[in-house]
C-alpha cells in the first residue's frame, strides 16, 4: 500500500468515526462538523505555510469572505441551494485572491506576512462597518442549509456527511496536488526560492497559483461553516481567527505530513471544548502551549534551521546571495 493510499484511508476512517467518537465523549455532531471544516481550512492554509513556506495572517479573511459570499448568493439568487452557492463563493474567492495575491506576492518573507496582516485588518473593518451588505455587528443570517436533490440538510448528521465527503474530496485533491510536479516546485520554492528561480521556474506564477488554491480551499471551509451555524459574523474575518488557524497548522507540525493540520485542529477543538468547561481563560493556556510548541518543537525549529540556512539569520554569517 503506497503512502498516499494509507493517508487517504486514514482520512476516511477518521471522518467515519469522528461523529461517533465525539458523541461518546459528550460532544455534538455540530462540533464534529466544525472539526472537518477547520481541517479543510487548515489544509488550505498549509498549502501556503507548509508547502510553499509563506506565512499568511490573511486566511481568516478568505474564510469569512467565503462565508459571506455563499450566504449572499443563496439569499439573493439561489434559494434553498447548497452546492451552487458554495461553488459560486469559491469562484469569487479565487478571483479575489488572484488580484490580492498578485499584489501582495510582490513582497517576500516578513513583508508578505505583514501585508496579509494588513489585508485581514482591512477586510475585518469592511465587514464590520458595511452593515448593508454583511449585517455588521449582528452578522449575516436568514439563510438555510438548503437541499441536495431531495435530501434536507437541516439534520446535523446529514450535514456532517456532506461536509465529510467534501472534506475527503479536498484531502484527495490536495494530496494529488502536493505529490504532483507542481507541488514539488512549491517545496523547492520553500527550501530556496533563488535556486528555484535559477532552475528556470516562474516562481512568481507558482506562488500565485498556490496562493489562489490555498485561499479558495479556505474560502470553501468558510462557506460550509456559514451554513453550519446559519450565520456569518465579522469575527470570522478577524486577525485572531487567522492566528488560531495558524496555530493549528503549527501545532500539527507544518510540513511534517499532509494530515498534520488535522491533528492540530483536533488538538485545538478538544482543548477548547474540554478546557472551556472548567475555565473561561482557555485562550490563555492555549496561547502558552502554542508558544511552547514554536519554541521547543523539533519539527518546527528543524524546518527553520534548514530554511534559515538560506540566509535569513541575523547574527550569523550570510549565505552568498
Amino acid at each position: 500500500m503506497s503512502s498516499k493510499t494509507r493517508t487517504l484511508l486514514t482520512g476516511a476512517i477518521v471522518l467515519c468515526l469522528l461523529p461517533f467518537v465525539f458523541q461518546a465523549i459528550g460532544l455534538t455532531a455540530t462540533t464534529a462538523t466544525m472539526v472537518v471544516i477547520l481541517c479543510i481550512a487548515t489544509l488550505g492554509l498549509n498549502v501556503l505555510m507548509g508547502y510553499t513556506g509563506l506565512i499568511s495572517f490573511g486566511h481568516a479573511a478568505w474564510f469569512g469572505m467565503g462565508g459571506y459570499a455563499a450566504a449572499l448568493l443563496q439569499k439573493n439568487f439561489l434559494p434553498d441551494q447548497l452546492i451552487l452557492p458554495v461553488i459560486g463563493s469559491m469562484i469569487i474567492i479565487a478571483a479575489m485572491s488572484a488580484i490580492v495575491g498578485w499584489f501582495i506576492l510582490r513582497r517576500r518573507g516578513v513583508y508578505f506576512a505583514l501585508l496579509t496582516l494588513a489585508f485581514t485588518a482591512l477586510v475585518y473593518t469592511v465587514s464590520y462597518r458595511w452593515t448593508a451588505l454583511t449585517g455588521g455587528e449582528d452578522g449575516l443570517g436568514g439563510f438555510t442549509r438548503g437541499f441536495i436533490g431531495p435530501i434536507d440538510l437541516a439534520n446535523n448528521f446529514t450535514y456532517y456527511a456532506v461536509v465529510a465527503v467534501i472534506g475527503f474530496g479536498v484531502l484527495y485533491a490536495l494530496l494529488r496536488l502536493v505529490h504532483s510536479p507542481f507541488g514539488t516546485v512549491l517545496v523547492a520554492i520553500r527550501e530556496n526560492q533563488l535556486r528555484a528561480e535559477f532552475q528556470g521556474y516562474d516562481v512568481q506564477r507558482y506562488k500565485l497559483i498556490a496562493f489562489v488554491i490555498s485561499a479558495t480551499v479556505t474560502g470553501l471551509a468558510g462557506a460550509l461553516s456559514g451554513f453550519l451555524h446559519y450565520i456569518v459574523t465579522a469575527e470570522s474575518t478577524s486577525i485572531e481567527f487567522s492566528g488560531e488557524l495558524m496555530a493549528m497548522v503549527v501545532i500539527g507540525g507544518m510540513h511534517a505530513h499532509i494530515l498534520g493540520p488535522g491533528v492540530g485542529v483536533l488538538f485545538y477543538i478538544l482543548f477548547r471544548e474540554l478546557f472551556s468547561i472548567t475555565t473561561s481563560n482557555w485562550m490563555f493556556w492555549f496561547g502558552l502551549i502554542f508558544i511552547a510548541f514554536v519554541m521547543y518543537l523539533p519539527g518546527v525549529s528543524s524546518a527553520s534551521a534548514r530554511r534559515s540556512g538560506a540566509g535569513s539569520g541575523r547574527f550569523r554569517r550570510k549565505a552568498p546571495p
Binding site: L194, G287, F290, M295, S308, A310, G311, G313, F315
Partner: protein, 292 residues
C-alpha cells in the same frame, strides 16, 4: 474659517501621529536591529495603559505615567532574555509566530487580571481645559502630549546619532557581521533596544489612557496601525517612520472630519498607494534577510 478648521484637524492629526509614532518607533527599532517582528508590541502598549490606570489612585497621575513605562521596560528585559534571544539566529517567521502567541497570552492575561470591561482613566484637573491660540482652540493635554512625544523623539535621535551606543546600533543595522568582527557583541545592545522599544510603547499606552478607552483588545487594535506606519515608512528607517506616522495621523484625522465612514480604510488605501509606488516604503532600504 474653513481653513482654520482644517488647521485644527492637522494639529489633531499630529497628536495622533505622535501616538502612532511611540508604538511604531519601538517596533521598527527592534525589527531593524534584531530582525524580530514583534507582534507582542501591542501587548506591552496595553499593559502600559493598564498599569498607569492601576497606579494612578496610589501615586497620582504624573508619577503613574512615568512609573508604568519603567516597569514595562523591566518586563522588556525578561522578554528579551528568555524569548527573543533564542530567535536572532532563526528564521524571522518563527519569531513572528512566537510573538503572536505572546500577544494572545498578554491579551488574555489582561482579561484575567483586570476583567473584560473597559477601564477609564481620570485626567487631573490641572491638565484639563483648552488653550486658545488666536481663533483656534486646542486641548491642553493634547498639546502637552505632543511636547512629550517630540522630546522623546529628540532624545532617541540623539541617542542613536550622537552617542557611542547609537553608533554600535546603527552599525548593527547596517552590517551585524562587521560589528561582530570588531569584537562587539550585539546581544547586550539588543536588551537595551528592546527595553527602549517596549518602554516607548508603554509611554504611548500610559499617555493616551485618559483620552482613549482602556480595554483588553487595545493592543491588537494599535498593532495593525503601527505596522502600517512601519510598512509605509520603510523598515529600518528612523525618519521614514516619523514621516509616515505624520502622514497616517494627518490623513486619518482629516478623513474622520470630512468622510467619517472611510476613516479606517484611509490608512489602508494610503499603504497600498505607497507600496505600489515605492515597494520598500517611503525611505526603506533593501534588506535581503527580510525578503527570503
Amino acid at each position: 474659517m474653513q481653513l482654520f478648521f482644517l488647521f485644527e484637524q492637522i494639529v489633531n492629526g499630529l497628536v495622533l501621529a505622535g501616538y502612532y509614532l511611540l508604538i511604531a518607533l519601538g517596533l521598527s527599532m527592534i525589527f531593524s536591529v534584531g530582525g524580530i517582528v514583534n507582534l507582542a508590541h501591542g501587548g506591552f502598549y496595553a499593559l502600559g495603559a493598564y498599569l498607569a490606570v492601576t497606579l494612578t489612585p496610589k501615586l497620582g497621575f504624573v508619577p503613574a505615567v512615568v512609573a508604568s513605562p519603567l516597569l514595562i521596560a523591566l518586563l522588556g528585559i525578561l522578554f528579551e532574555r528568555f524569548i527573543l534571544q533564542r530567535f536572532y539566529r532563526e528564521d524571522p517567521i518563527l519569531s513572528l509566530l512566537v510573538t503572536f502567541g505572546l500577544a494572545m497570552v498578554a491579551e488574555q492575561a489582561i482579561r484575567m487580571i483586570w476583567g473584560a470591561s473597559p477601564l477609564s482613566q481620570v485626567l487631573p484637573s490641572f491638565l484639563k481645559g483648552g488653550v486658545e491660540i488666536g481663533p483656534l482652540l486646542f486641548s491642553k493635554y493634547r498639546l502637552i502630549m505632543l511636547g512629550v512625544v517630540i522630546a522623546l523623539l529628540a532624545s532617541i535621535w540623539l541617542l542613536l546619532n550622537r552617542t557611542s551606543f547609537g553608533r554600535v546600533i546603527r552599525a548593527g543595522i547596517q552590517n551585524p557581521d562587521m560589528v561582530g568582527a570588531l569584537g562587539i557583541r550585539l546581544q547586550p545592545y539588543m536588551t537595551t533596544v528592546v527595553m527602549i522599544g517596549v518602554g516607548l510603547a508603554a509611554v504611548g499606552g500610559a499617555l493616551f489612557s485618559p483620552i482613549t478607552t482602556v480595554h483588553p483588545a487595545m493592543g491588537s487594535e494599535i498593532l495593525t496601525i503601527a505596522f502600517i506606519v512601519v510598512i509605509i515608512g520603510g523598515l529600518g528607517s528612523f525618519w521614514g517612520v516619523v514621516l509616515s506616522a505624520i502622514l497616517v495621523g494627518v490623513v486619518r484625522s482629516v478623513t474622520v472630519q470630512y468622510v467619517p465612514a472611510a476613516a479606517d480604510a484611509s490608512m489602508y488605501i494610503l499603504m497600498f498607494l505607497v507600496l505600489l509606488l515605492r515597494p520598500r516604503g517611503l525611505l526603506g532600504e533593501r534588506m535581503v534577510k527580510f525578503e527570503s
